[in-house]
C-alpha cells in the first residue's frame, strides 16, 4: 500500500492566497456580522414601526372614506368613527382591512395594499364606500420612489384623481389627459410609479370587491334583526 501526499501543483501558497474567497475574507466576515446586527435591529424595532403605521392608518381612515373636508367637520363636531381591523384572505394575499362604522352603520372600508413600485415596495391605503362600488380615497403609507418624480404619487392633487372612480373598472395610467372613466393621468417622468399605484389598487380591489360586499351585506342582517326585536 502506498500513501501519496497531495500537493497542489505550482507554487501552492500563492495560488491559495490569490483565491478570491481568501482575498475577500474580511468582506465576508463583516457582511455576516453586519447582517446579523441588522437582523437584530429589525427584530427589535419592527413592532414599533408597525404600530406607528397602524396609528397613521387609523388616523387616515375617516379622511379616506368621507373626504378631507367632511372628515374634519365630523371630527370637529365630536363624532367618532368606530374602526375595526380585520384580516381578509383573497387570492394569494392576506389584506388588512379596516371597517369604519358610524352610528352603527358601515360607512366604508379601507384596504391596506402593497406592491412593487419603481424603487421599492409601495404601501397604499385604499378607501371604498360601504357597498364597494366607488373609491373614496387613496393614501400613500410608505414609498421610496425617486424624489421629485416618483414621490409625487404622495401629492394630494394626484391622489384625488382616484376619488369616485368605480371599483369594477381596471384603472390605467395614461400619458395623455385622462378622459376615459378608468383613466388616471400619469405623473410626467414617473410612468412606472403611476402604473404601479394603479396596479396595486386594481389588484387589491379585484381580490376584495366580492368578499367585502358580502361582508357588508352579512353584517347588515344581524343589525336589522336586532332593530326588529327592539
Amino acid at each position: 500500500m502506498t500513501t501519496t501526499t497531495q500537493e497542489t501543483p505550482g507554487s501552492g501558497k500563492n495560488r491559495w492566497t490569490n483565491f478570491f474567497i481568501v482575498q475577500a475574507w474580511l468582506v465576508l466576515l463583516l457582511a455576516s456580522f453586519f447582517g446579523a446586527a441588522l437582523a437584530g435591529i429589525q427584530l427589535t424595532l419592527a413592532p414599533k414601526i408597525e404600530a406607528n403605521k397602524l396609528n397613521e392608518t387609523l388616523e387616515k381612515v375617516p379622511e379616506l372614506i368621507l373626504g378631507a373636508d367632511a372628515a374634519r367637520a365630523s371630527k370637529d363636531s365630536g363624532q367618532q368613527m368606530e374602526i375595526n381591523r380585520q384580516y381578509m384572505t383573497a387570492g394569494t394575499k392576506t389584506y388588512s382591512v379596516f371597517k369604519a362604522e358610524k352610528d352603527n352603520q358601515t360607512a366604508g372600508w379601507v384596504v391596506k395594499a402593497s406592491g412593487q413600485g419603481y424603487a421599492d415596495k409601495i404601501e397604499l391605503l385604499v378607501g371604498v364606500d360601504e357597498t364597494v362600488n366607488t373609491i373614496t380615497g387613496l393614501f400613500v403609507l410608505d414609498q421610496k420612489e425617486t424624489p421629485g418624480l416618483g414621490n409625487k404619487i404622495m401629492e394630494p392633487d394626484w391622489r384625488r384623481q382616484f376619488v369616485s372612480k368605480p371599483t369594477h373598472l381596471l384603472l390605467t395610467a395614461v400619458k395623455t389627459k385622462a378622459d376615459g372613466p378608468g383613466e388616471i393621468s400619469a405623473i410626467t417622468g414617473a410612468t412606472i410609479s403611476s402604473k404601479a399605484v394603479c396596479d396595486i389598487v386594481n389588484q387589491s380591489l379585484n381580490n376584495l370587491r366580492q368578499p367585502l360586499a358580502k361582508a357588508a351585506s352579512d353584517k347588515k342582517k344581524p343589525s336589522e334583526k336586532q332593530q326588529e326585536k327592539n
Binding site: Q23, A24, L26, V27, L30, A31, F34, A37, L38, I41, Q42, L45, K48, I49, N52, K53, E56, A119, Q143, K144, E145, T146, P147, G148, N151
Partner: protein
C-alpha cells in the same frame, strides 16, 4: 506618517477651514433637499454624525486589514449598515420626521462626505483621530445645513424651528421652501463664504 494632521487639527479643520459643504462642496444632495425646515436639517445632521462616527471608528479599527482593491466595498458595506440602523430607528421613534425626510435618509449611503472621510482619514489614522475627524466634519456639515435651513425657513414660512419669528404680516416667500430656494440660498451663502475667505487672505 509624520505629516498627517493630529486629532485636534482634524477636528477644527472639519468645522470651517475644510467645511464639507462650503469648502469641499460634498454631500450637496441632502444640503439642497432637506433644508426647507431647520428641524429636518438637524435630524439629517444627527443621522450623518452617527453614521460618519460609526463608520470612521470601524474603518479605523480594521485599517491594517484593508486591501487596496477591496477597501471601497468595505467602506460601502459599513456605511450602508449604519444608515439602515438610523433609518429603522427614525421610523420607530420619529415616525413623522422619517416620513418627511423620506428617501434622503437611505440616500446617506451615497453621501460622499462619509466615504471621503473613510478614505482620507479613517483608513490611515488612529481610532481617536478618526473619531474626532468624524465629529468635526459632522459639525461642519450641521453648521452648513443649519445656516441654509434657517434662511429658507425664516424667509419661506416666517418661522424658525417651528416657532414664529417674523410678524404675521410677513408675506411668506414660498419659493424659498421649494427647490429653487435651495439653489438660490446655497449659491448666495457659498458666494458670501468665499468672499469672506478671499478678503481674509488679503
Amino acid at each position: 506618517m509624520a505629516d498627517q494632521p493630529t486629532a485636534f487639527e482634524r477636528f477644527t479643520q472639519g468645522i470651517l477651514p475644510e467645511n464639507p459643504v462650503y469648502r469641499q462642496l460634498l454631500g450637496l444632495c441632502p444640503v439642497l433637499a432637506v433644508t426647507n425646515s431647520v428641524q429636518g436639517a438637524m435630524t439629517m445632521a444627527g443621522a450623518v454624525l452617527f453614521v460618519l462616527l460609526c463608520a470612521n471608528v470601524i474603518i479605523s479599527l480594521i485599517r491594517d486589514l484593508l486591501k487596496p482593491h477591496l477597501r471601497i466595498v468595505i467602506f460601502t458595506l459599513t456605511i450602508a449598515t449604519f444608515v439602515t440602523i438610523v433609518d429603522r430607528f427614525l421610523a420607530a421613534y420619529m415616525y413623522q420626521m422619517s416620513k418627511n425626510l423620506g428617501p434622503y435618509i437611505p440616500l446617506i449611503i451615497v453621501n460622499c462626505i462619509i466615504i471621503c472621510r473613510c478614505e482620507v482619514c479613517a483608513s490611515k489614522q488612529s481610532v481617536f483621530t478618526a473619531a474626532s475627524d468624524a465629529v468635526g466634519q459632522s459639525l461642519g456639515f450641521a453648521l452648513a445645513l443649519a445656516s441654509i435651513a434657517s434662511v429658507r425657513e425664516i424667509l419661506g414660512t416666517g418661522m424658525f424651528f417651528g416657532f414664529r419669528v417674523l410678524p404675521e404680516m410677513w408675506p411668506d416667500w414660498v419659493i424659498m421652501v421649494l427647490p429653487p430656494g435651495a439653489f438660490l440660498t446655497f449659491g448666495l451663502l457659498l458666494g458670501a463664504v468665499n468672499w469672506v475667505a478671499a478678503r481674509k487672505k488679503g
